[in-house]
Amino acid sequence: MSEPADDPQSSRPSLALGPSERLRRLYALVAVALGAAVVALLLLTSDAGYARDEGFYFYAAKRYGEWFVLLVRDRGEALRRAAIDAHFVVNHEHPALAKSLFAVSHLADRRLGLFAEPGTAFRFPAMVLAGVMTAITFHWGVRARGAVTGVVAALSLIFMPRVFFHAHLACFDVPITALFVATFYAYDRTLKSSGWLWPALTGLSFGLALSTKHNSWFLPIAFAAHASLLALMAWRSRQSLRTTLRRPLAALLTMATIGPLVLFATWPWLWFDTWARLKEYASFHVNHEYYNMEFLGENYWKPPFPRGYAPLMTVATVPLVTLVAAAFGTAALGRDALRDLRAREPEVAAEHATLVLWALGVAVSYGPWLSSGTPIFGGTKHWMTAYPFLALFAGAGVERAASVIREELELVGAAGVGRVVAPACVVLALASPVFQSLAAHPWGLSAYTPIVGGAPGAASLGLNRTFWGYTTGSLTDTLNRELPPGGRVYPHDTAGASWEMLQRDGRLRKDLRAVGRADDADVALYHHELHMQGQEYQAWVAYGTVQPVVVSGLDGVPVVWAYKRRRP
């Protein structure tokens, strides 16, 4: 999977389908167009309610935004410790980059009126990063294996139903996935180029990832492992270790220097008591509190967590065709690499560096869940950083499948059909993921693949139906219709700021009030989670009824419902 045009030292014919310069420019344009199309699609489908964590980030972004305004108006005052601490103490268990982008977008919207709903302004930067993630995945796939790989990889990624859902949110999961794959990509380009541009971009991207979410801590581990494996391959093929390791070490050097600088520069909270605050940040995530998560009918809330959680949930939520294609892609590319390794091909390290990198992208993302002590409360988003690489392997699998089928058809004298094989394979690889993602929206956290029977099958199996309380957004019509002026609602798991954003958007009547207990409300909402059922029972007793006024959900499976107080 090398790129001959970038690799002047390569003397043997490449296994890759390296595009010409003209095609490369075209692919770069297609990548940008694809990214833009993804952002447009996300904007058009931005009707999901607001997740619990989004509420916290809205508040943090508003505080950070106030500091940005202060910075413009009175730089001296803004740079005083008191001002920085007062603004950035909010949600300081997470770095500031994503929230700062949400803040800038929010400020721009306030000034320019860019978006129909204020909530979309906060969400927009994450949507843009979803577009960036898709574009990079496409571009990497094209460069490594050709157009089929690029198209299938990019669209398989964004149309994983859970990824598609998370791509709408003002959260960190898709932003870190975008920056994770961007750093991998920059590192890969470093290996295949000379000069300091790509190493510098690797360091910069790593810094931005560090400033987004702690998944970034695994990037140096992945690249150190990659350099070690390349060294082993070079040793096996009797190549110079020094030559092999020169570029990986250049990338690791910039990551060690530029990365922390970017983190420091983009997170003002670290500008004072730096070491103590870094320790506090690391400690928060290393010793993270455990929350509840249902898996196969059991509620897990403390270790040991089931080691089968990550693999089974991947199978249950990533379209099967993507997984099968990824398995074929991995097997085919792995087989090529082993063949070259056994033959001690001189360029084996350079030739298969990208394959090893993709494999490490998957490995380091899933690795923490080999331990039964790693929390599972966030569901599949925990290992979402693996998905670009899974998608790239899927793209390679479809590309190889199309190629092999075409050859076989030629062998049996059906060469005429060969022309439609690749397009047919692409369509068949993407149709199911696209359908599943769009059909599940906006119930993304309730989406399960047909292999477990979809949402109904997952409910019967006892897989988590929803979390984060975002499905209040699906009951706004009922609430607007059913409640009297000044009506009070117990929104259950929906955070206060998420509720308020629905009102600011105009989706929810502004006279309605969210209250903290069902007994204080006219209507009590219930977002179904196994461990939350006591909330529903509270409403039964307080309201004297077990009859919901509305039940809403995905494919006939109840996800959120509401009880209305009986008037005496």
Partner: protein
Amino acid sequence: MKPRLAWAFALVPLVGAVELALALSARGAAPQPAAYDALEPALREVYREGDLVVVAPRWAEPHVRRALGDRYFPLAALARSDEARFERALEISVSGGRAPELAGFRQVAERSVGPFVVRTLENPSPARVVFDFVERLEPGWASVGGTEPETRCAWSERSQPMTGGLGGHPGFPARRFECPDGPYLNVSATVIADQRFMPRRCIWAHPTKRGARTIRFSGVPLGARIAGHSGMYWMIERAGAGAPVELEVRVDGELVGVERHADGEGWKPFAFELGSHAGKATSTVEFLVSASDYKDRHFCFQADTR
């Protein structure tokens, strides 16, 4: 590449086609909410007061409750501790679901209603409940107090219902015994979530700081035993941080049994044989609840005599 192996790659597009077909069909696999409205007229024909209505799979139950209403789902049945007391059950089967808890019942009728199957089932050996203490927690039958200091709790028909919100106490209904220790230490019929988060109808009887909470029932007809369950809201109990709670049961002043509930035991059954008291037409039954440390003891018990 050998041809046979090469053709294995055809699995990739094939899986895509099959998965798309499955995804399309899965969308309609379960009935949509409006379909449940057809159930009420059908249930009205077969339902008898005291029947247990069960929905299988259980996840479809909210749809059925919305469509049928409270008449078919009294809390005593919906938040039951066992099925043995029910003579008949109506099983509403959605997408072929069966209720495992009704496995011992005998099917006597079956009817299709749109996408649903309604089965009438009979219990071959129903337990005869002589007196249900949870359902009789009201003046006329019950009086409530404390021992240290000696207090009496007043019955209220129209208290403000109370709920604990996220992580808080269970719901307290408007009809309850209000005790001088404060509203939180009331005695009322509530519903808690057990260790499997199943609803359990029970008497909320939080221990008092000192002495015991007493719940006295008068004029009680007795069966052969007093049986029931004890537990706490699971989110409290699972932490394993609280003192054990003791439930003493006395009949006409005589101690017939003590149930000791430790954190982590979940919804735990108990049964006390009544010996010479068995079969009495009228008696006084007292429940005394105490703990060495009353902090966060969300104790709740269900009891009947059968």
